[in-house]
Symmetry: C2
Subunit: 676 residues, 2 copies
Amino acid sequence: MTAEQVKVVFTPSGRRGSFDVGTPLLEAARLLGVDIDSVCGGRGLCGRCQVTCTEGSFPKHEIVSQAEHLSAFTQVEKRYGERKKPLQDSRRLSCHTRLLGDVVIDVPPESQVHRQVVRKDAEHRDIRLDPTIHMYHVQVEEADMHDPRGDFERLLEALEREWQLTGLGCDPLLLPTLQPLLRKGNWSVTVAVYRGEQIMALWPGFHDQAYGVAIDVGSTTVAAHLCDLVSGEVLASGSLMNPQIRFGEDLMSRVSYVMMHPGKEQEMTQVIRQALNQLIAQVSSDIAASTDDVLEIAIVANPIMHHLLLGISPVELGGAPFALATDAALNLLARDLDLVMHPGGRVYMLPCIAGHVGADTAGVILSEEPQLQDEMTLLVDVGTNAEIVLGNSNRLLACSSPTGPAFEGAQISCGQRAAAGAIERVRIDAQTLEPRFKVIGCELWSDDPEFAEQSGQIGITGICGSGIIEVVAEMFLAGIISADGVVDGSLRNRSTRIIENDRTWSYVLHQGESEISVSQNDIRQIQLAKAALYAGIKLLMDKIETQSIQRIRLAGAFGSQIDVKHAMVLGLIPDCALNQVSSAGNAAGTGARIALLNRESRGVIEAVVGDIEKIETAVEAKFQQYFIEAMAFPHKSDPFPNLYAEVAPPAQKQAQPNAGSSRRRRRRSQAGSGAD
Amino acid sequence: MTAEQVKVVFTPSGRRGSFDVGTPLLEAARLLGVDIDSVCGGRGLCGRCQVTCTEGSFPKHEIVSQAEHLSAFTQVEKRYGERKKPLQDSRRLSCHTRLLGDVVIDVPPESQVHRQVVRKDAEHRDIRLDPTIHMYHVQVEEADMHDPRGDFERLLEALEREWQLTGLGCDPLLLPTLQPLLRKGNWSVTVAVYRGEQIMALWPGFHDQAYGVAIDVGSTTVAAHLCDLVSGEVLASGSLMNPQIRFGEDLMSRVSYVMMHPGKEQEMTQVIRQALNQLIAQVSSDIAASTDDVLEIAIVANPIMHHLLLGISPVELGGAPFALATDAALNLLARDLDLVMHPGGRVYMLPCIAGHVGADTAGVILSEEPQLQDEMTLLVDVGTNAEIVLGNSNRLLACSSPTGPAFEGAQISCGQRAAAGAIERVRIDAQTLEPRFKVIGCELWSDDPEFAEQSGQIGITGICGSGIIEVVAEMFLAGIISADGVVDGSLRNRSTRIIENDRTWSYVLHQGESEISVSQNDIRQIQLAKAALYAGIKLLMDKIETQSIQRIRLAGAFGSQIDVKHAMVLGLIPDCALNQVSSAGNAAGTGARIALLNRESRGVIEAVVGDIEKIETAVEAKFQQYFIEAMAFPHKSDPFPNLYAEVAPPAQKQAQPNAGSSRRRRRRSQAGSGAD
């Protein structure tokens, strides 16, 4: 065999080689280890192996590349174009294109197996597509009396012959469907293989619909993104209210409900699973897909939702020592959770970190990757409990802190959920003490002449979490409240907005059908919540021995709505360059999506979570002290140089010249006692 | 530490060593690698580590062994005796007995982990107990706020610390029970670990009930043996009729039923699973155990029952090419088969061999071990299809042959199932042509004066399978039928039992309320059945190139009821020394029991089945020729020297002086043509 040899160079990989004239491009690519996709195994069905010939002279490679150096456009390619969509821009199916002369062949990103899935957030690296489930189309040998193997064994043989897959098991529930499907597909079938180990789904003929859903089970909202497991694209998104709200607004009230009604956890499990099923059906229906084509879901959830979803009673999480049933990542069968998707469907649940630091925080870490950062990074996810992660590539620490539901508008006299009519933005004039504000559902500020008319339809109904942060911060900056959080009643002489209220003072934000005001007690609730959060952060800073934080990312809905400057004015978070504080968006959900699309990431997050140092604030002696110091706005003793470089200090700001040095003294004395 | 050292020798292992005074015996045994059982981890709960001190002088070991060289009987041992049963024969719990001086310690068989389970059949080796599921009792560290691990992770830590088990997974269905059980057991629990890999069951405190059930799913009968997974003993046995009989008496009629009523296979699956559940409940209830304590079942079944049990339609097995859905051994979750046992229960199904050679035959092989024999061994399991295995340690071959249901009494004019009133034994006087017989349910032969009275209550209702074999063989030996199977009508002159019947002749066996006779057509049915069996065997002998068989084992109910001499007279089986032909009893069921109790045996049978050469009789050109030659009694041309050494040839036996040499000629000519 001395067939004529021709040269081929593949871009962008740069891999090159010489092959016999007539070699199919896909075969040449495989022999050179070029990353090129195929589901149908070179049958011209899937269209995933498209390439382009780059024409021109390439002296470096001694190649003059021309489209004519490839075999003529085939009937198979024409049929593919008719069946799916015509090949664009002189694309070819590499499985049906043969080498006739020297060429440079470009493999576009969408034809690569491990293509990058673009994340919208510019700050992050793209996700490398490498799902746990891969699709393979094979032609199985027909059953034959001369060869008494079982049909499943013939399928295994085909998968080994065509795809070099060995040692595969099979979901036993598929066995009853195997023989009819093989015959229906005329012995051609597509299988989905889970983790390279087990056949988990089966279709007659060629099939390339394979979807996954990333789900973030929050205490208030359950959100889902349906992703194409072959392209990595998000094809549909949806969310719904967590139906468990009827058992309690916040997580702790749901746990109390179970404590008072033993056995009710089963009903709570049932309703959350139903909600997931509704959501899976909804996002599938959005793209006119069958839930049978949903092969895997990846789930993040806080520990209580995590446990309830698994059918585990959350009562142990409701009291000390707050023991999780398990903190491990879980690989489950969807049917064991009564989830309606492909009957062999799989579920991946990210690991929990500790009793109040859940798989949602694991998702935030997977998305934000603090373990890869040089900068000391703080991740905060605020809910009924704040989940706090601090660290960098050297160490990561995590804890939770019992902020309570004040930041969500609960326990605030005029607080409400973030919905149309809720005040979400506030500014107070330090001279006149007059406020202006914005409500959800109206673009105008309240001092705009057209505001009354435009907001009239939606009304002004209360203050949501981000509004509370702003109004209290603005009250502090305007001198209405002191650093200790006391409303200054003497200001009633300057403004009618300062009114007496059961021996304390309130600030009236709006006088309409009903009065919307901020009471002394509201301020106290915010103080308690923010002190808990700050004390948790401080404890971690202490443990990791850092005085400053370079980067703060606020996760979750709350984090994306609050104004970071106002949050820092109140001392929810420590001082930090303001341009280094930002919202991480729905980082937990993004983490679920990463885990869904990239199998390696699961090992990464499991290892990172294993290495995290878990701090239980309840057993830390210093927590109480840090809590008390953090009651002041922004803090009793910690300086906020970055903040006050950009924000004018409040009119009545109390000087704290020695704060920094007293703190250093305390640290020294600790070091001394440690050496005793 | 220079504590005084004392010597200990363990028997029967002979392992010995020196230890510090005060060392617990169990610890010494473990350090020496002595095979000694424990479920409770040395807590004096399980009583499995019992040993005896052998007193006396052992010069060889330089030991004078005395019971006083062991620490005094403890309260723990006393309490064990009160709770379970008192320690017998100066037994001690080795976990609570310390070395004080030199001793010889005997570990009785029941205290060894890998004890031998005695098989009643003297011909077989004992089963080495080594189940896939082991029980471990552990003390788990209490949940503690200073250590934020999940409770499952604490359990894993305890299993590693106390039992050196690592890398364990957990059945996700256990997770909801973990926390309540840990607390109920005051942080002491017993776990069952499957294959050293996965925690599959969990109980609070100490628990040592762990059962397995070996099940043989026959087409007529489903039989079960409940075994103690810790001792290996069979504690209860039971059987019931296969409820699928209502869809068809024999397997092929059930397949036809599914072919004619598509979808009905689901109902058939349901009823057989219900039957298994009924049987599991029955054998559990026999020992007052909960089905929750049944942790594993091992199943053998013919291919059609195997498929139906798995929910696989058997239609492909009903026609060429007789393709199995799978021939692999299967490890399943009981819940995937709707079986009611422990919720995490496991099912092992032995592998099938070929389209008509099922997991039941795999069970027979596991029990009979032909792959370990030097002698050329024939295993035959007769049903609607005969399953045939031939070979020895060099090679094993298997095939099935379509005998039809004649051997089961079907398609025989007076045939019936083996039940009270059925004729099962027959002798015919060659001079008078008068028969005598026995019926099931009566101990007497029919020529006994008291027979009429004793058999009167049960009646004489028909002829069962073994009766048919005997009566036809006796008719042949008495000269009533020729070697070609023709009833000799001329004998009507000698006996009134020869009667005309639609232009052929019948032999009247009994004239009572109804006439019980053997017709010419009955003889033809038996000829067809036995010719199919013989031809299948002959084909395997051909393939394996042997002229003779050293050993024949007849498996199944039929095999245990028929008289081997009569079977050979008819030529059901080839010539063989009669004392080397025997029943294998319920070898398939024994195979299931071996697979249940010894995990290694599963790998053995899977490998043996993989190596078996599967012969499909339907595609073998010679099968038809062999079939025709085997229509004669005992055979047209094959000599039966062993048989005729013990049995007088029939009165009208046709001489076949050249049979042997003509056969040799044919073989030579074949060899010649093969070399062309």
